[in-house]
Symmetry: C2
Subunit: 223 residues, 2 copies
DNA sequence: ATGCTTTGTTGCACGGAGTGCAAAAATTGC
DNA sequence: GCAATTTTTGCACTCCGTGCAACAAAGCAT
């Protein structure tokens, strides 16, 4: 187990207030999205819940949907922190997989799945999430660049990161479809899928053999 | 060379008018984006150029940025048409690569690159494009599902398509960075990159060896 | 504590985005 | 040509997103 790298600096009241406000807004937005549905609430409703002014909201987020991507950004923060602590000589795919699984263990997954599922109902939320993945991709590519140095071409690097993210997203999608209610082993279900997808990637998708969920739905994949 | 599958049905005036209007709006939006920059023009300016009412614009597109993704959607139309005509026993990656290269030969690439580069300057356009890629992914997955039948799991299928799109996107990005002006061999440059990225994918990213553009920029990659 | 500087919040105002609705115009079928 | 259908348009309305200036809170020095 890796230590959490908490940045536990003194952190003045200025910084803390901003973090709190940001979180309050994000929480308010999430609760609203959960209760009335994504895209079915206004910024005014959010700020009323969060206890800030309308103008302040837009100081933090450019749109209501962006307040719903905070969780993913934080998730990437964690994952990158984990990744940077892994030994530099560990095999690449192994390190990536470990960074993901280690992170999913400290962060709850249910909300991510819930948000992912919400995106199916609201194009604007979907776009915000895609943008979030894009930002994450850039950040991860950055971290990988630091790890691999100039040994790898830019194309190799960006394509690899893109594929890792795509595979992870496919796993999330599959998981969201086949594990709608919060099942007991929900976490393991997702982990298994991410692992399966990344393994396919490592093998160049040579074997179409069904590892998880054949074609018909409702096959809980006894893993 | 494959035939273009032109759907040359009679096509009444209703249908034709809609197509024309759609195209007029898309063209007007593209010209504006090109001259004043993406995100720097209003819907009113677009509709004035296109010669339609403001309300009509929103009958066709939900936002100004969406009018700029028409080209990519059409590109996918073409590519899918090509893909479906390829022999069913052709190796998967080969078929995908061929579908792409065949399509790039009939469609101009410069506008795609231009739009791609524009997205770096306007978050909303970027989101619209990401959404467009997402739609394309779904459509391609559909086509692949028809081709592979139930032999492949959903996860395999969606992960594969996602990775193909990601690799292509990485190639586009690399190309857009290293080939800013419309160079003479612009088309071949892009083709080479897409091929390189998809080859990396097929090989499971086992070899970080620099195929195109080592690390430093401005290395035209003698192909 | 007191004042001074820096930084974050709020209200206001304004232009633009997006949508429901009903009237008007264009296309189609007969 | 006439009636039915489909598309375009104008209007009105709400909500979004932002520049600006006044205001409040935190930091800093004495």
């Amino acid at each position: 187990m890796l230590k959490a790298n908490h940045h536990a600096e003194p952190l003045g009241r200025r910084e803390q207030n901003k973090i709190d406000t940001r979180q309050a807004i994000a929480d308010a937005a999430f609760e609203l999205a959960r209760s009335v549905g994504p895209g079915a609430f206004t910024v005014d409703q959010v700020v009323e819940r969060a206890g800030v002014s309308r103008r302040t909201f837009f100081n933090y987020f450019p749109s209501a949907e962006d307040a719903l991507t905070v969780r993913m950004d934080l998730f990437i923060d964690l994952a990158l922190g984990v990744f940077e602590q892994l030994p530099a000589d560990e095999p690449l795919f192994g390190a990536i997989i470990r960074a993901f699984t280690e992170t999913t263990r400290m962060e709850g997954l249910s909300q991510h799945g819930e948000l992912f599922r919400m995106a199916g109902a609201d194009p604007d939320l979907l776009r915000a999430q895609l943008h979030s993945w894009e930002r994450a991709e850039a950040r991860i590519a950055e971290a990988l660049r630091a790890r691999l140095g100039t040994a790898a071409s830019e194309l190799y690097l960006t394509a690899l990161v893109g594929c890792v993210m795509s595979s992870t997203r496919a796993a999330l999608r599959d998981w969201a479809v086949h594990t709608p209610p919060s099942a007991a082993d929900s976490g393991r279900q997702l982990e298994a899928r991410i692992l399966a997808a990344l393994t396919m990637l490592r093998d160049g998708f040579a074997d179409p053999g069904a590892l998880i969920t054949p074609h018909p739905p409702d096959t809980p994949a006894r893993s």
